[in-house]
Amino acid sequence: MEAGDDRPTADVESGARLRLSAVRSGGAVTWPTVDGPLGVSWEEAETYARRFFLWGFALLPLLWAVNCFYFWPVLVSKASPSSSPHFSRIRPYVVWSSIGFLIFAVLLTAWALTFAIGGEHLFGPMWKDLVMYNLADKLQLTGWM
């Protein structure tokens, strides 16, 4: 694989800098993952992208976020003639994972903020029973260890 033979031109000291240097100036990516040469290869990347995507449906949206984070170079760059042929197979999974995670995050944040900010004013006395610290005391969740 031609992509696997090149090394990123910038320094490879840290993963964060690797991420930036994984995308060459022409827009094509050398490594599919943020870990660069330590990550998955182009051939195996499709398996992993698909696996993360499918397992995310088991009430695990964090796996979608992991998918986007792991294949970040694939997400931010566009398909170009010099990129690997696997690129276009990986990209749909990563894009759909990011959409799924964003929708889920918006929903969960909206609910959490409503609960926290609304408080008793919105929910009435039921709020006191539902809030976690009271619930933990009532159910003795912290007393068993």
Binding site: G15, L38, Y48, L62, L63, M132, L141
Partner: protein
């Protein structure tokens, strides 16, 4: 170390030395250890105001009475401190015995090639630590800081974080930063749980574990040494929880987890109905499956491609070197360092600083010895012994000195 071009020093590429990359390597192993210790100290200091909770819980499960009783007994003249010491020694001894037995069991299972069973077992125990212990500690934090979170959000977050954590620790291909982050998290959770033991028990446990570590890695009959030699002879991977620092100069095709990993997971499972007559109280304490380390020395000359000078792969209970020169440190070492510092935090911040410096000095000495001997080495003994000595000295001598100086406005 390998030849590589320098990144920061104005040295020509041909004369790279060990100093060019040693600093970076050391930083990459010192940072997560420091982070783990910092988080445990923060947890201990923020949750210790709920002292009644933890001391009442520990008095439920542990043999030593809460301190109020012991002071009352001192007034009455009975030597309950001696009783505490005795029970602490018994606890520590039984812990070491259980750990030794479990390690030998691990060696046996590995000998009979039950690797899948071991991996599943470790996955389940990581899940247990992350979900139950993580949930317990986050509930303590939520109760303490009165965070207005609802059960649905809490449940979803806990479920997601723990399941992804298990994947991060055991899947072979996962973002390295997340893998490292979750290992540190598991270390923090387990270390905080250990700090909930009574004082004398914690110190006895630390000293006993460091002696065990020394014996298990360096003696020829040590279980960890056997384990590593077994894995070496078979060229197999031991399923383990090991923190591996990212190599400074990654080569393409150089997979981080190609080489052997040390088993750094110790499982202590206490029976829930503690019907063991001899060690009723002691086993009652360790109700959880806890991460423990199994040190296994490993010396293996690898035929390396490319210009690598580092041909030995050493894995050690405490410390070792991967095939690309990255330093590996067992999770158990993270845990016990953090337990020492966490227990020091329960006294005062002065002891925290002293113990932190002692542990870092010990880690530096261990790294130095690793570079000299190029063998698997136990990382616990030097640091723990230094830490205990510094804790005692600070508590007995330094504190009096500093307090006197401060109260006389001489030095702050």
């Amino acid at each position: 170390m390998d030849d590589r071009s320098t990144d920061s020093d104005p040295v020509t590429a041909s004369e790279s030395s060990i100093l060019d990359t040693l600093g970076e390597d050391v930083i990459r192993i010192v940072s997560p250890v420091s982070l783990c210790m910092l988080l445990v100290v923060l947890l201990v200091s923020s949750l210790s105001s709920t002292n009644d909770l933890s001391s009442s819980i520990s008095s439920l499960f542990l043999s030593s009475p809460p301190t109020s009783f012991s002071s009352l007994n001192l007034l009455l003249g009975s030597d309950s401190t001696w009783e505490e010491i005795k029970s602490a020694l018994i606890t520590a001894l039984s812990f070491v015995v259980v750990v030794t037995l479990l390690t030998f069991l691990l060696v046996l299972l590995f000998y009979f090639r039950c690797t899948n069973f071991l991996r599943i077992y470790m996955g389940i125990s990581s899940l247990f630590v992350l979900s139950f212990l993580g949930g317990f500690i986050s509930l303590l934090l939520i109760s303490h800081f009165k965070v207005p979170i609802d059960p649905l959000t809490f449940g979803i977050l806990l479920f997601n974080l723990s399941v992804v954590g298990v994947f991060a620790v055991f899947m072979s291909k996962f973002p390295i930063s997340m893998n490292q982050g979750y290992l540190v998290a598991i270390g923090v959770l387990t270390a905080y749980w250990f700090t909930m033991l009574p004082e004398w028990t914690t110190w006895a446990l630390l000293i006993a574990m460091s002696l065990y570590d020394l014996a298990a890695v360096l003696l020829p009959v040590g279980p960890l040494r056997l384990l590593v030699e077994l894995a070496m002879s078979r060229n197999e991977e031991i399923p383990a929880l090991v923190y591996e620092a990212r190599p400074v100069d990654p080569q393409p095709g150089d997979r981080v987890r190609v080489w052997r990993e040390r088993t750094d997971v110790v499982r202590i499972e206490a029976t829930e109905n503690s019907t063991n007559s001899a060690n009723v109280q002691t086993i009652q304490e360790t109700r959880l499956a806890v991460s423990e380390e199994i040190t296994a020395p490993l010396i293996e000359p690898f035929p390396q491609t490319g210009d690598r000078h580092l041909n030995t792969e050493e894995e050690d209970d405490g410390i070792g070197l991967g095939s690309s020169g990255a330093i590996k440190l067992g999770l158990g070492d993270f845990i016990f360092y953090s337990v020492l510092v966490g227990r020091a935090a329960m006294y005062d911040y002065m002891t925290v600083y002293a113990c932190y410096l002692a542990i870092m000095a010990g880690l530096g000495v261990t790294l130095l010895l690793l570079a000299v001997y190029r063998k698997a080495l136990p990382a616990l003994p030097v640091s723990i012994m230094l830490g205990v000595v510094f804790y005692l000295l600070t508590r007995v001598l330094l504190e009096v000195f500093v307090v006197q100086c401060s109260s006389n406005l001489l030095m702050f």
